[in-house]
Symmetry: D2
Subunit: 334 residues, 4 copies
């Protein structure tokens, strides 16, 4: 940790702060510049509250040397993590396409869509059973019954399945779900993260709407620190002033994450844009930016979908996306 003292810091303030750091078992190297004095603290600074020190009268600024995430960082674990999702592997150069409806609605709906997306090239099936909805008055998902139907579609097609959890109390219901999704609004639901860290399940961790890349990796750290290193990140757009699209898809986060972490990174262009006609260009762009896979909402009858029909592409549109995404993969690897 580096502490930059203010030019106006008094001798007494400096002596007090020096004593405080020594009481915490730290040593310090001091550099006196023309404009400021700088301390480099040595020892275990993890318990020091950097904000507290930064707000002292005598202190101009504080900077941590180490990133606050460790097990999620590439310096701790240089090789790419490959996550096994019920037999389908993602990361380390293995690219996967997750597809399916926003919500599971009926047995016929989910099985029809599952077969269609498999035929078009999807390797994992998504389907929502527990739905986080902004309004208490809209469809909240089929819940346990939705998971039952999703498992039927898995049996029918052989595709591993991905579904979102909203409360640790529902964990028992997710026993046969291959990948458990944590939605954007729960990225910092730390109690849920702790509960999931004690399972052996792959976790698909979406980025929160207002969360920095560092906070996102800290949430991954919660999972890994608790014992679960099967973590997949998923960029799905952040909230900005631009309202013409639902969110602003931050594709630069992909190469940045590939530097900072060993975890695989997917992109969800459906939620990011909120509009079916924008899914294709953004799926292609996400692939070109270096993503390890995509998650795309597909519905056979978007006009009558119970949820998010506006952003669902048809199976035919999905097949065209798969074809172009594969061609772009060749350019990225080539």
């Amino acid at each position: 940790m580096i502490v930059i003292l203010k030019h106006q810091a008094t001798q007494e303030q400096i002596a007090d702060l020096k004593q405080y750091f020594m009481d915490q078992g730290l040593r310090m190297d001091e550099t006196r510049g023309d404009h400021a004095t700088v301390w480099c603290l040595l020892g275990d600074t993890s318990r020091i509250d950097a904000d507290l020190i930064a707000n002292l009268d005598a202190v101009d600024a504080v900077r941590r040397i180490q990133e606050p995430f460790m097990k999620a960082s590439r310096s701790y674990h240089p090789e790419d993590t490959v996550v096994d999702c019920g037999g389908v592997q993602v990361g380390g150069g293995l690219f996967q396409m997750i597809a399916g409806p926003c919500s599971v609605e009926t047995e016929e709906q989910i099985i029809t869509i599952a077969k269609a997306v498999k035929a078009a090239g999807a390797t994992l099936l998504r389907g929502g059973a527990f739905k986080p909805r902004t309004s208490p008055y809209t469809f909240q998902g089929l819940q346990a019954d939705g998971l039952r139907l999703l498992k039927l579609a898995k049996r029918e097609t052989g595709m591993p399945i991905v579904s979102e959890i909203m409360d640790a109390a529902h964990l028992d219901l997710f026993e046969d779900v291959d990948v458990i999704q944590v939605g954007a609004r729960n990225m910092q639901n730390f109690e849920l993260l702790k509960a999931l860290s004690h399972t052996g399940k792959p976790i698909l961790l979406k980025r929160g709407l207002a969360n920095t890349i560092q906070e996102w990796l800290m949430s991954a750290e919660y999972l890994i620190a608790g014992g679960n290193d099967q973590v997949i990140l998923c960029e799905r757009g952040i909230r900005t002033f631009e309202a013409v699209t639902r969110n602003t898809l931050d594709l630069t986060s992909i190469p940045v994450l590939k530097e900072k972490t060993h975890l695989p990174v997917l992109v969800d262009p459906s939620h990011a844009t909120g509009a079916a006609r924008l899914v294709k260009p953004m799926a292609m762009a996400a692939t070109a930016s270096g993503a390890d896979g995509l998650m795309i909402e597909v519905h056979n009858d978007p006009m009558n979908a119970l949820c998010d029909g506006a952003q669902s592409v048809t199976p035919e549109q999905f097949a065209d996306i798969v074809r172009r995404v594969n061609a772009i993969r060749d350019v990225v690897k080539g």
Copy 2:
């Protein structure tokens, strides 16, 4: 709901959409302008997915006439709601000061601070037992033991208590807590909101870092729709590009909320600014903007606080804040 059709919409598209709305049991008034055709839909449009319609080729834009929240809105409930917090009332002109440490640390700490803030003018005592921390490696709160100590301080001072819940599974522990706080990161934890809507407890609902005022009122709607109308809103800053303060305190939200909703609105200048020296001016500004109360972190020894010492004021500083805030209340009411 108003639907504006595109100039280029084909006759077939228009006929299909008309049929779709009639199938949903809706009627429509049509206005043909020089540049566009506008439909005003009549009937129960609550099940129509506005985003879906807005993304159709034939449609230029869709606008709902009604706000999506109802029970939280002032047009539904014109009088101010007054929330009873263990005998202390907030809202409808009754202004309250919540104060106390970020975290409960020891019996001596919480009782000392409780007595000090009461003497200085606080009417409710806050203290964190379950702490949402960005890092899994930092102090996570004393949990059940923290609530036990907080209740001791309540018995000692007679002040009603406020503490944050992080998981519905902990609800039993909050039986003697007077006001249950939902933190910013859980504002859209809908499973938690549903569980809290079935209690009779006052809920202090903080604004999420990236949440609009409308989304915030929709979360209040979850609570009221489930049966709990004892809801207090608390502005605590939003996330913007400005990094010099931890968050950007959105004080204009206060008069806007007083128009849109009947619920009381507090402000938390401690979390908003993240810096003790900024708490006083922002507490005064919040009061001047029309807030129904404040929530302020106070610690007797900020340098050794286990959590958020940087933003904690001392009891002496708090007393000065109370004095000035009361004087500003007189100007607001006068």
Copy 3:
């Protein structure tokens, strides 16, 4: 224009507002719904201040039917505009690569780089002479002399040149510059836009850091309304809470713009990311999203560049980018 009246609007307020609109020469269609009355105003509403009406006590909301930009819109001009940049054409399927240093530094530097980027596949040469710098103490560009050297490089290589203008008073100096760039900070410098609208020069209009797509098109409208329809848009990132990259590159703006406007749209991944190692993936992603071209900073000696070395790629890196971008173009078109 659509006006939604509040449920609580009084008869007198309604009568006054009706009279106001009639005085402005407008007619209105009225729809009375269960919850609100809606007026569709007919006639020339362009002089009505929508914000003023929306803030009246009797009014719930106002919505314009027409986009406020006209000549920049695709509905006004359905075919793609192709802009001729000194013999090199961009738009309408014609993709171009602009490359060169942030600043022109010396004759040797600009000519060396010009030859290198031409060999690598660039079709236009960029070079800054007037530099908008945040600090008054940093290098402000060679100014008139920089333009002179840039023209030497044009003569030497035959490449048309692009350079930024900061003040209409400098227009004379830009006579032989093929494309005049308006930087992000000047996107709403309306006096500069008016002056440029009276030239016949192609204008490269960068998006402002905090500007919506609609505001950006309104600035293009200033240029076209004044008589200059040779406008090229350039996305270069917007300002958000994420600080790990300099800006957040909003690639979804590309397909959105292709719908809304007929103007060509480029992307500048150098300024968007601020880091040379991120330029390649984001150049590829921008191409995949449907951009009509790229603008990339290239320097033969980034460590000793006088400006923005951190984001400059070497000519060798640029050649690799061109190769991959061309391969992605094939996928987009195919």
Copy 4:
């Protein structure tokens, strides 16, 4: 400047970088920690491009010790600057109210309003002659004629006048204007700032919609570095995701600025909120936060204002605001 090296930096990279800094005439103190090596650079680092160094493979992070603004900083100039605005002084405890219409429209209008705001307690008169409008099709101000009428109102009432400049080419017209305003969109129009730095006129520098406090002070630094230290800052809201108000008024910037700079700081609640009914609470809140004055739009007939009627208060409302603001000033000072 502090440079933190990466753990994985090679000996060769470190040697090269050391040589680079020595070539720039710098010395360095080195601290080797358990996780990283830290260099404190000594000497004139102002020409070092921190972004360039931060993006090198061997470097983890770079931090400047000094703020990049100097003459605007309070450590350079500890006493409050008091700016003389045609005989009315602002700063150093002297609080002023600027009021008047968004645009000068007619002689009768400006003189009527000038007399009314003077009677209500305003000390400076504002009135726009050159108007930055998002659309080329809306009223652009009376320009030279507007300034002529504004000067008539000054002669009539004795109030010093404030008006916005949009282009340095208009400077001659502002000779008898007491305070020249630089609007939000021109905060980083560096050519305009340079031109204004050579005048002796007080400059009211508004904060840009997407500009940080540091960038704002850098723009003030442009003015002071060029020779004009008569600078007044004016907070007017920043752009965020919240769309219910036009901008988000960042009142925490006021106490932050009072620490960082000696310049007076005003607040404009009219542009920040865009709604007349929100001006009163936010004017009061701004005063409570420690502002040195306010700038408020007042119009005698808001419904028929040519510009921004929605945010204009009447003279009667303004008089009530003045009364309450003065009472809050007493609490702040008390």
